[in-house]
Subunit: 225 residues, 2 copies
Amino acid sequence: MTEEICHSKEPARGGRNLRADAERNRERVLDAAREVFAEQGLDVSTNEIARRAGVGVATLFRRFPSREDLIAGAFAEKMHAYSEVTAKALADPDPWHGFCVYIERLCRMQAEDRGFADVLTMTFPTAKALEEERNRAANALTDLLERAKAAGRLRSDFAHQDVPLILMANAGVVTATRDAAPDAWRRLLGYLIQSFAAEVAQPLPDPLTKTQLYRTLIRLSRRPH
Amino acid sequence: MTEEICHSKEPARGGRNLRADAERNRERVLDAAREVFAEQGLDVSTNEIARRAGVGVATLFRRFPSREDLIAGAFAEKMHAYSEVTAKALADPDPWHGFCVYIERLCRMQAEDRGFADVLTMTFPTAKALEEERNRAANALTDLLERAKAAGRLRSDFAHQDVPLILMANAGVVTATRDAAPDAWRRLLGYLIQSFAAEVAQPLPDPLTKTQLYRTLIRLSRRPH
DNA sequence: CAATTAGTGGAACGGCTGCTCCACTTACCT
DNA sequence: AGGTAAGTGGAGCAGCCGTTCCACTAATTG
């Protein structure tokens, strides 16, 4: 049943063809899901998504029987972009520069899409389509790290497990600061990159202002929206 | 109605005279809350706390009318310990060592108590008792940073707003890794401290093992337990 | 232009939440 | 001991949630 997960470009023409209006609704649901996930994160009510898509809840559930199906569908493109980032970083003639750009892009993607941040750090063994893309990216990453180390720019004790570690840390900052100081993560990253290079201190992005900090913490006090 | 609530007999026993069994129940609720908050974080059901305390929900709500009252009560001690950490760090003859110990302790407190992690990073303007303690700590922290900078060990562009930034990052790591790799945060902190000192790379704690990483991400995939 | 289904929306269900109400119980004071 | 108000527990309310069901609608096909 769940064997085929359509690539977003080619709507369902590969295996089953949905009725025209059904396919249109499917796309509307995905658009709404992407929109809401990006704004509010992954744990948003099903009703809310259906409402925003302008369809009944039943339609959503028939098309995406489980929550994971919906998530996989919504983030398929972005997951592909993610693995492309890895490939591009690998293609960079300067491995260290490639590494830095890679990390920066990843963190930026987290910062720009709250749902995607959750996908990257939280929902690992989700639908097969995502997992496959993830594995391809992981392999490319290993190569990237090897080269940066061989070039003598990346510290040799940097582990590939440190990448999700960075992502988790970044997620913490990003979810906390999104509304009041959406660029706060850059400062964390500035600190981290520096220690990955094991070089002397370089200029950092500006720290949070006092009011940014205040508003960040205010906002977070009412989690259960 | 009447202004005075207490009879003139024993007006001030800590400002509040509850009936003996009421006071005992109050303590039972606080104990249960501390226990559950530490395990499951701040957003745990009121019923669950009452059940674990062995009292009815009404008892809980009469004693702690709002959620914030309960949180403030449960974490009063720990918040005091937190401000003491700052004071102790300030008393350290070596300001840089004091700074490092301070950061380490803070992150450890987050790692050991999921609820407290939330209190520190998420619920800022909560009950006054907590806020007051927080301010005292903030002032001591400013002094600590000044001294460490004056000693030439802490980089001069370190901002006091970077401390919550660290805490947010640490929270991200800690909430993600608590079950599978409860010491993962130490590695992040190792990286960070290094870049705060702007010195050459030093040995780091071990990275996550492959299985630790896997189990971490597995666990997180089913958030709505 | 029917006839045939795939497709639809929204009501409804069961389970959870924070919180309140009220008939009872029990500690305290004399 | 006995009166009384403080204190109690749990049923119950309103409001969410994910999910299912089913009477209806309309795209497709011949």
